[in-house]
């Protein structure tokens, strides 16, 4: 029987984030949920999973009303939410992570917890997903993909009828995302109802049986059914066309200027083994590769956030090599980290603080007793905000209250204020909505136009092909090739794909690179742990 | 999450906080009246306000002195306020003294945690015309007018060694359990004992010293380890009211009664049981009497009739010799042992 929300409204301290939203999921179907950040997707999921209580409206199980005061009420009924960031407890074993919070139900023998039983149950549920691993290992060591599999396994353990995925694939690389999609298909075929939130439209289109679009806390139109049309969906999401953005992206530059950054045989084991690339003025260099292929780590060691054991980092105009990140930033070699919440943002501080942190020392002077010039700082903040079009009421707004896209823009603004010559953007569009994504692509291009050298790291080849002039491919800590557009300005996608996946171009790997694909097989062969860093 | 308008919340903050603190101050205040540690006796009009401040409140040694003093106070027209820090902490005590001397007391009775830390406050008191009489633990001479020494050092040292020899013989091995390495009267007593020992019983052998910080439990563990480390020890010198019973209980626990003896300065309240079971002999004095004497001296000092040198006579208390403000309270400390312990009150005064 279907599980549905009817005319659900939710407001936090007066701010309405959901308005009369109705949403139903059927067993044996994958129901997509799309919308810009802040559209209320996650809120809706959390309400349906019992994390939040609706301010108005009901949840219906079949035809009779249900209410889930807590998560476990929902879990008990058979609704399970796989959060965007897998919430495994790092020091606990995989087995315990799978069974925790459920001891009371089973696994309790006369002598308390029955560890043997717990291990067995854990192993079984993982094997159902064709995932074999020693369940006594600490979950902390698992890659994000693997952790998400464990989450699915939990869902199965609780014999959940409905499994809600909140952006499961955004932290995954293509291969892993694909593996997960396969799992979802299997789950659907075995009669589970699945709700999927994702920003990767192509993925959604491939997976979903129908799609509901949310905008500003309301459902837009009726639920869409295949065949889905890209432009139609995007229009529904952001309420405008993306034409102008696309136009901007079409522009291409083929006349790169002198080399700004040359990195040769960079090594920082274990993640980075032998990395070579160069960045020229006025071009966007894409970094492609699976998660764990060493893209991020390379970028970090290039700017000095990681100690490198070997290699030369030659920045034009710099006499000697920089000693620390601060040093590198001063010389115009600036890095915008991958994980916004953990590595980038000071969420509890103001937008101004976040933007000006890199240039404070330029705002002080001996004549003013090394005090930070307030006017200068305000100026800098506003300047930065305007350059990346950060939308917020005031520079004093707390960063936490901004949307993901605006947070990311603030961080890029921070980098721009440092007057970079080479800018390394690591997954700048992860987990942000289509609109903001387009703006960031635009900014990236403009920066290149203005003569900067930009490095653009992303797991989405699609977006890399859109913004990059050249793409450097990483594989197991090595740069395995540089791909450029061919004469007709088209990308040799096949070659690119194989470089990314196999670390070699199809020419040599022809034979083994085309095994008869079979979904289940392909799935079982996926390495869930390739992300271990 | 805005529940209240900023201004309203602002007001809420302050009001709640104000109420809480005012209320607290009040309750603390009323409590002080009831709490026995302040122990002020009814102050008759025109009575002499005397402050007694000790190393640490909540130790029977001082409580006995306090009670003795409180008993004598009314008859002398003295209103006595008893106070002291909650940890034996020189700095805390000095801070207290600094406020005490501003509360219009006529005389200050002081047992100092440290000879120096309390000195400035005591000096200030004298500068303000408040006579300072120290007892039990002295401060530097400049900072006080009179010092009532519990027991004459030579006599006390002699008492310790004599008892030690009496039990263990002239060649016994001896261990020392003291309170703190830098507490003046401990040093003085131990030195005097050593001097007497070198002169008369050079055979005695000192095996080691441990410190119990005046805490019975700590002294217990210290003494225990000391006895384990030096099985030859026959006598533990314990010139501290925490160390004496502590060591004695260690001896008792280790079943060494009769083999080892704790010879020290233990007030009967905590030592009686061990003196009874023969694990301790105590060179002590009448604590209550000490309290009384302090009250009489305080009255005299307030009336400017207390001499720096000469004899101070006060019929109920008897007469004492004062040299440069130094008074030895117990000329010859009483030896409390199995036999006589029954005849004394906990405060050390003879029964009947």
């Amino acid at each position: 029987m279907p599980y549905s929300a009817r005319q659900v409204t939710k407001d936090f301290a007066g701010v309405t984030v959901l308005q009369d939203v109705s949403f139903a999921c059927q067993e044996g179907q994958i129901h997509g949920l799309i919308g810009e950040n802040g559209a209320g997707k996650s809120t809706l999921m959390k309400i349906m999973a019992g994390l939040y209580q609706p301010s108005a409206g009901q949840l219906l199980w079949g035809d009779d009303e249900v209410s889930f005061p807590t998560v476990h009420h929902a879990t008990a009924k058979g609704v399970y939410l796989v959060p965007q960031e897998p919430s495994l407890l790092p020091d606990l074993t995989i087995a315990e992570n799978l069974t925790i919070g459920r001891f009371s139900k089973h696994k309790i023998s006369a002598l308390g917890l029955d560890w043997q039983g717990i291990k067995e149950a854990a192993r079984e549920s993982l094997e159902k997903l064709g995932f074999t691993i020693d369940v006594t290992l600490p979950a902390g060591g698992l890659s994000i993909a693997a952790q998400q599999l464990v989450e699915c396994a939990r869902a199965l353990m609780f014999d959940s009828k409905f499994i809600l995925f909140d952006e499961p694939t955004s932290p995954l690389d293509a291969a892993e995302a694909d593996m997960l999609s396969g799992k979802m298909r299997e789950l659907r075929d075995s009669g589970h109802g699945i709700v999927l939130i994702s920003h990767r439209l192509s993925e959604m289109f491939a997976l979903c049986d129908d799609i509901t679009v949310l905008r500003d806390g309301r459902t837009v139109g009726d639920r869409l059914r295949p065949p889905f049309r890209h432009d139609e969906v995007v229009k529904a999401m952001i309420g405008r066309e993306l034409q102008e953005v696309d136009a901007a992206l079409k522009r291409r530059r083929n006349t790169p200027d002198e080399t700004l950054l040359r990195v040769t045989s960079l090594a920082s084991p274990p993640a980075v083994r032998d990395v070579n690339f160069e960045v020229r003025a006025g071009e966007v260099v894409g970094f492609a590769g699976l998660i764990g292929s060493g893209r991020t780590e390379s970028a970090e060691s290039v700017v000095g956030l990681r100690p490198k054991t070997d290699g030369v980092i030659a920045l034009t105009g710099a006499a000697r090599m920089h000693k620390s990140a601060a040093d590198a930033f001063d010389r115009g070699l600036v890095y915008v980290p991958e994980d916004r919440a953990k590595h980038g943002a000071f969420l509890d501080l103001s937008v101004r603080d976040n933007i000006t942190v890199g240039v404070l020392h330029r705002l002080t002077s001996a004549t003013h007793a090394w005090m930070i010039s307030r006017r200068g700082e305000q100026q800098a903040a506003r300047d930065g905000m305007s350059r990346t079009d950060v939308r917020c009421p005031s520079p004093e707004t707390r960063l936490r209250s901004l949307s993901g896209g605006n947070q990311q823009k603030s961080l890029i603004a921070r980098a721009l204020l440092m007057k970079p010559r080479v800018l390394l953007l690591d997954e700048p569009t992860r987990g942000i909505d289509v609109g903001a994504k387009a703006v960031i692509h635009q900014i990236t291009r403009d920066l290149a136009e203005s003569g900067l050298g930009v490095v653009f790291i992303s797991s989405e080849l699609e977006e890399l092909t859109q913004v990059s002039d050249r793409i450097v491919v990483f594989y197991e800590g090595r740069t395995v090739g540089v791909v450029e557009r061919d004469g007709s300005h088209e990308w040799p996608l096949e070659q690119l794909g194989h470089l990314v996946i196999a670390g070699a171009s199809p020419v040599q790997t022809q034979s083994e690179s085309y095994p008869a694909p079979h979904p289940s097989q392909s799935v079982s062969e996926v390495d869930p742990c390739s992300g271990v860093q | 999450m805005k529940i209240l308008a900023p201004s309203a919340r602002n007001a809420l903050y302050s009001s709640v906080a104000v109420l809480s603190i005012v209320g607290l101050a009040a309750c603390g205040n009323s409590a002080s009246k009831s709490a026995g540690t302040s122990g002020g006796s009814s102050s008759a009009a025109g009575s002499i306000k005397v402050a007694m401040n000790v190393k640490i409140t909540g130790h029977t040694f001082f409580t006995e002195i306090r009670d003795g003093a409180l008993a004598a106070a009314p008859s002398q027209g003295v209103s006595l306020t008893y106070s002291g820090p909650t940890f034996s902490d020189g700095q805390a005590q000095a801070t207290q003294l600094n406020s005490i001397i501003q509360q219009g007391y006529k005389v200050l009775l002081l047992s100092a945690n440290s000879p120096t830390v309390e000195a400035p406050a005591a000096e200030k008191a004298q500068a303000m015309g408040i006579p300072v009489i120290t007892f039990d633990a002295d401060v530097i001479p400049a900072a006080r007018g009179w010092y009532v020494n519990d027991a004459a050092y030579p006599a006390f040292g002699k008492c310790l060694i004599d008892q030690a020899v009496k039990f263990g013989g002239p060649n016994a091995e001896v261990g020392i359990v003291s309170s703190n390495p830098d507490s003046p009267n401990q040093i003085a007593w131990i030195n005097s004992a050593m001097a007497y020992q070198k002169a008369n019983y050079p055979g005695l052998k000192i095996d080691g010293t441990v410190y119990g910080k005046g805490d019975e439990a700590l002294s217990f563990s210290g003494a225990e380890s000391l006895l384990q480390a030096h099985p030859g020890i026959k006598v533990l010198l314990t010139p501290d009211s925490g160390a004496a019973p502590g060591a004695a209980s260690a001896i008792t626990k280790l079943g060494m009664i009769g083999k080892v003896l704790s010879v020290g300065q233990g007030d009967l309240a905590s030592s009686r049981q061990y003196i009874k079971n023969g694990s301790e002999v105590s060179c002590m004095w009448d604590n209550a009497g000490l309290g009384k004497l302090l009250v009489y001296m305080a009255k005299a000092a307030a009336n400017k009739t207390l001499p720096k040198n000469g004899t101070f006579t006060s019929d109920p208390a008897g007469s004492w010799v004062i040299k440069n403000g130094w008074v030895d309270y117990a000329q010859n400390p009483t030896v409390f042992n199995k036999e006589n312990v029954g005849k004394f009150t906990d405060a050390g005064s003879p029964i009947g």
Binding site: V71, S87, A174 | Q228, Q273
Partner: protein, 342 residues
């Protein structure tokens, strides 16, 4: 990795204990005399008791500074009541337990409902409970205990002091509770990552709250053992000699992670023996008592550094294992999707 590391912790502590005692015995033959070992074990048991409680709190990512005052208060109350009207041990136990639970509950309330950071909350209660000791004693102290308590302090069964036996039972119970009960695992999970534990449907507030109650409870019983063994207590007992720091020290030496989620009660028990022994050894070698704190300090440092080292190593090991498990053949599943996306 966790389990592996901590068991290492235990074995290393045991090795250290053996080595140190061997050296000491070589110099002072009577170090291993029954009476000495006994006294070491007994004091280890009494402080181990509050260390166990402290470990629960730290396990839940908190800290409890008030244990020493709780011990002191319970010791005083039991002592005074016992002396005024001769009560059976049972009553003493009840007093200790009830008092401990009440005081622990106050901590729990402050932390959970008052949202006061643990270190601040328990600092406040340490101050208050410490003051209450004085108010309660009113300047008097406990000097002796009636025989029934005295006997509890000295009695031994099969040559093992009853106090030690009680401690062993307590360790066993703690170990079982932490490993085999719902609440115990909840505490581990909560200390590991409260947010995620919460999303697991674990009542993290309940878990944290319980750690403070347990800590108080154990401190209360420790007070009973303290008073029956030392048969003396003053208003300064506990805070006056900073037992709370010893408790934290023991817990850390036992390999408890200050960041929560990792603790092993057996090794905490061993650690308490280790510390007690070291301090006795110091006396045997005539080291002045003023060096004791320094010794404690260095022990903690050594253990924490060693633990960090071990953790990192076993951490690597587990990753290696994961790599081993990895199945080959990334190519296949991309075949139908060469460009990664679309």
């Amino acid at each position: 990795m966790l389990r592996r590391t901590v068991t290492k912790q235990e074995s290393y502590l045991l090795i250290a204990i053996v080595i140190i005692s061997l050296i000491t015995v070589a110099v002072h033959p009577n170090f291993l005399k029954a009476s000495n070992v006994t006294s070491i074990l007994v004091s280890a048991s009494i402080f181990g008791f509050i260390a166990l409680g402290e470990t629960f709190v730290i396990l839940g990512r908190g800290i409890d500074l008030s244990v020493s005052a709780t011990l002191g208060l319970s010791a005083l109350v039991i002592g005074m009541t016992a002396n005024q009207h001769h009560i059976p041990i049972v009553i003493g136990v009840i007093i200790g337990v009830v008092l401990g639970i009440v005081l622990g509950t106050v901590n729990g309330l402050l932390v959970i409902f008052g949202k006061v950071p643990p270190i601040i909350a328990t600092l406040a209660t340490l101050t208050v409970y410490g003051a209450l000791e004085f108010v309660y004693t009113n300047g008097n102290q406990v000097n002796s205990m009636p025989n029934n308590f005295d006997n509890l302090g000295n009695a031994s069964y099969l040559g093992i002091p009853v106090i030690v036996l009680i401690f062993l039972v307590a360790v066993a119970v703690c170990w079982y509770f932490a490993k085999y009960t719902q609440l115990g695992r909840d505490i581990y999970a909560t200390g590991n990552d409260r947010q995620h534990a919460e999303s697991r449907g674990i009542k993290t507030s309940k878990a944290i709250f319980s750690t403070y109650v347990i800590s108080g409870l154990l401190a209360g019983i420790a007070g009973l053992l303290f008073i029956s063994y030392y048969t003396t207590a003053t208003a300064a007992t506990g805070p006056g000699t900073s037992y709370e720091l010893s408790a934290i020290a023991i817990s850390l030496i036992g390999g408890t992670a200050l960041t929560g989620g990792r603790a092993n009660f057996v090794s905490v028990a061993i650690a308490s023996v280790f510390l007690a022994m070291t301090l006795t050894v110091a006396v045997f070698f005539g080291v002045p008592g003023i060096w004791d704190p320094a010794a404690e300090g260095f022990l903690i440092l050594a253990v924490v550094l060693g633990d960090a080292f071990l953790t990192s190593r076993s951490g690597r090991r587990s990753v290696v294992e994961l790599k081993r498990i990895i199945s080959k053949g990334d190519v296949a599943h991309l075949a139908d999707n060469p460009a990664g996306e679309r």
